[in-house]
Structure formats: C-alpha cells, structure tokens
Symmetry: C2
Subunit: 275 residues, 2 copies
C-alpha cells in the first residue's frame, strides 16, 4: 500500500480496512508513505516491482505525474484509492467528492452565511479539484456567482489550512463561513480561528471534509462530510484480491457515498434567531 500521508488519520484508517481484507485472504500488508511527493512515490513503485509484490493499492500523489506504467507493463495488479490518475484505467475506489462538497457548501449558504469561502488541496490531487467543483456547483445551485478570491489552494496539511485561513481573514471583506476540503487543513483552520479569537459558529461557520479522530472532544462540535473510510479500504482490498485471482477482468470504479454530519460549527444561533 502506498499512501500519500502517513500522518493523516484518514489514510491510516483506510489501511485498517485493507489489512483486514488482505489478511483474511492470506496476504501480508506493507505500507509506504509517499508524503505527497511524486519522486518518493516513484521510488516505492519501482520497489514494488523489484520486490515482486503480489499487488499494490495506491493513493496517487498526482493525477498527472504519478506514473503507473511500470506496474502496468509488469502486469502488477493495481488499485487506486481515494484519488485517481488521468488516462489510466485500473480498479479504483473513490467517494462522491463533488457531491459531498456541494451538500456541505449548500448547507452553509442556506444557513444564512454570506461570502462562503473554500480551502481546497493542491491542484494535482483529484480530490482537491473535485471538491472545489462541488463547492462551485453549490454556488450556482443557489443562483450566486463564485468569487475566485474566496478560494484557496493549500497543501492538505495542518499548517497549510492555518495559513489559508489566515489569508482569508486578512481580506478587506473576510468570509462569513468556510468549507475546508480535508481533515488536517480543517484542524489548521480551527487553530487559526482560535488564535484570532473568532467565535465559531457566530462570526465564522465551518464545515470540514472527512472526520477527525476524537472530534467529540473538540468544542464547538464540528460539522463534517463523513466518508466511509474503513469501507473504502475494504473495497480496495477486495478489488485487489479479485484482480490477483482474475488478472483479465475489466477494471471497476467503485464510488462510495459521503454524508453531511451537521453539528454546532455550522449552525449559528444568531442567524437562526434572526429568521
């Protein structure tokens, strides 16, 4: 398994799903961390080939620069997870990123928030662009125009979320709410808001994408787009074991559903009372 960030609990939870399926099928699971770096990723891909691994599940660091050719040439079974790679047709497990982002953004817009911003990931990651697309779709659905100044591309890490939030707050007209497209950046954004003494959800509303471990301990409670993380891992494990058994079966793309979990961070008492 080649994942793009070992410090992200989303990816380690995925691994648990993969492990449980793979070990039941008699395989051992080894994990490599590409750290969102295509060079490290390429080194691990060639290691997978030279070590003659039975198959690989990968969350590609880049939709364009991740090179799976070596795996395809050696007929090494591959499943992409969480993200996909342009132009290659292999087994793939994703979630409905655009839809989840659209629902989350629509929830903020219909809750009365104005100037809803978006902090998304690097352009090279399909999840970042799909979630941005959903954000834009929600604006259009509400009959509003997207202000490109309200969109930030950060690096899917805590620090990136913090800095993007700080840059949004420094605007002449800061946003009234923000949709953050991954869990670590949501943590960073929350830390920035806390440092700036901005109250959630009154002054700024926030919805994240993907759950945060021990979110129950965070106050105010956090609204998030929940992913079926463990099931995504299980599904990838099943697809890979099937592919190993039947190398010539046509590739499948499985898309699992997200759900919006509404909590305190996106339901402003002031705005509710004003209605």
């Amino acid at each position: 398994v080649i994942i793009s960030d070992i410090n992200n609990p989303f990816f380690t939870a995925l691994v648990r799903g993969i492990e449980d399926v793979a070990q039941a099928a008699g395989f051992s699971v080894v994990l490599c961390n590409s750290d969102e770096d295509v060079k490290k990723e390429a080194a691990y891909i060639s290691a997978v080939v030279s070590e003659r691994m039975a198959g690989v599940i990968i969350s590609p660091a880049s939709e364009r620069s991740t090179d799976l050719d070596l795996l395809l040439q050696t007929r090494t079974p591959v499943v992409t997870i969480d993200r996909s790679v342009r132009g290659v047709h292999v087994d793939s497990v994703c979630v409905d990123n655009a839809h989840g982002a659209e629902v989350a953004t629509g929830h903020l817009l219909s809750g009365g928030y104005e100037r809803v911003a978006c902090i998304t990931g690097p352009r090279r990651a399909t999840t970042a662009s799909q979630r941005l697309k959903g954000y834009q779709r929600a604006y259009r659905g509400a009959g509003l125009a997207v202000d490109p100044q309200l969109v930030r591309h950060a690096d899917f890490r805590e620090k990136g979320g913090y800095e993007a939030m700080a840059s949004l707050l420094a605007m002449p007209e800061p946003p009234g709410a923000v949709f953050v497209s991954n869990n670590l950046m949501t943590v960073g954004a929350l830390e920035c808001l806390a440092d700036m003494r901005i109250t959630i959800p009154d002054e700024v509303g926030i919805v994240g994408f993907d759950d945060i471990p021990w979110a129950q301990l965070i106050r105010p409670s956090l609204s998030v787009v929940k992913q079926p993380t463990y099931e995504v891992g299980q599904t990838a494990g099943h697809l890979l074991t099937q592919r190993i058994a039947q190398p010539d079966r046509p590739p499948l793309t499985v898309t699992l559903s997200t759900t919006l979990s509404i909590a305190a961070s996106s339901t402003p008492p002031a705005l509710v009372a004003a209605k």
Copy 2:
C-alpha cells in the same frame, strides 16, 4: 519498520523521524502494523527475513513473546523502539517512562488530588509496566501507600481507556484524579468523563502520557508527559544505519527525556483556592 498500532499518531510520528534519516542515507522505508498481535508480528518478522530487508526497527508487541531469534540468527540488523524485549541485547531507543510517570503522578498528588488512579497498558508491554512503576514510586515519594484497586490495565486503545475510566468511576470511592499511560487511552478516558458529565479539573484531574494531535482544540487543555517522538524515530534511524555499516559494534541503548507539560486538566481552581 514494524509498529504495534498504525492508528496511534505516536507511532506514525515516529515513522516520520525514521523516514527522514533513512531516506537521507539512501534507504527506502516500508511499514508493517502488528496491531499489538504477536502472531501478526511474527509473520512480519519472517517476511523481513525472507525479503532480505537491510534492517528492521520494531516496537515489540510483547516483552516476552516477541521472538527476535530469526533476525539475530540471520544477522539482520535490529533496533527496538519505544519498548524493549527481555533478555535480548540489541540497539534500542526508549524514553524515561518511569520518571515521566513519576513526575506526572507527583504533580497530581501535590496539587491536592486524593485517590489518584492509574490507567496503564497491557502487562506484556514494557512501557505499561515502567509507567506503572513510576506511578507507584510517586506514591512512595509522597509517603503514601498505593491502593491496588486504583490501578487498571487496559489495551492502549481508546475504547480500553473509556472502559477503564468507567470502571474507576463505578467504585464506591471513585478517584479524584487519574494518570493515563498513553495518548489513545487518555482520549477514551476524556470521552468517558464527558459522557458522565464530570467536570475536569474540578471533579477529576487528569494527566496523559504522550501528546495528542490538535490537543490545542480540546477544552479543557490537557496536561501531558511529552515525549520527543520525532527524535526517538530519528535516533532509531541513526542506530540502524550505523549498525548496517558496522555489524559488530556493541549494542547501544539510548534513553531520551520526557517533560511534563502542565495545562488546565490538572490544575483545579477549587483546590488551589482552598490552599
């Protein structure tokens, strides 16, 4: 690298330290998750040997049942990390577990808390017994007798911490404070206290061992024994690359220092005022 719990951010942070050193030395790092299970661990150890890995860094699932003989026989370089194995003399990196636990417990006792309990890990893990030893030492240092009923052995996981806390609270004379010997169990204990509507630090004080990611977002802020996690990983990486270069150098044991970080969860306003 064979770690005992991939869902514990402590171990994934360790891995980052290992990776940075190993990759600078030209090695690739692959990770296996033993899941605190000696059978899975044994399978990964034999995989390390049959794949002819250059060396292995392992956090042993058990001080007695973890079997490193296969590695020693094949002269595979080994470094144990976080924990050690009885009777085997290999390179090892640990922290001053007993001392950290003693300082944490002493802090609770001297803060005026009575009946300070301890939630520690499974007996098979050296970290669990060393931290329990430090807890007991703090009691003796304060001239008090340890009540064995206040000690719980759980499984180093969130759920185990929750259940241990619940069982402590169900006692006729529940504890006034608790020292929890790992981060995930601390999260579980905090969740239990929140569910029971018990206020921290007034009704119950709490100190954890090892940091929790995004602890800043948790209210009240959490007192913890901080470990130099990344440095532990780096040190293990250095020991392993040195061992690979000089296979006959005598084994080293490196012990790094912990520090107590005092926050709101262990400083009761009521007790302070009463002084």
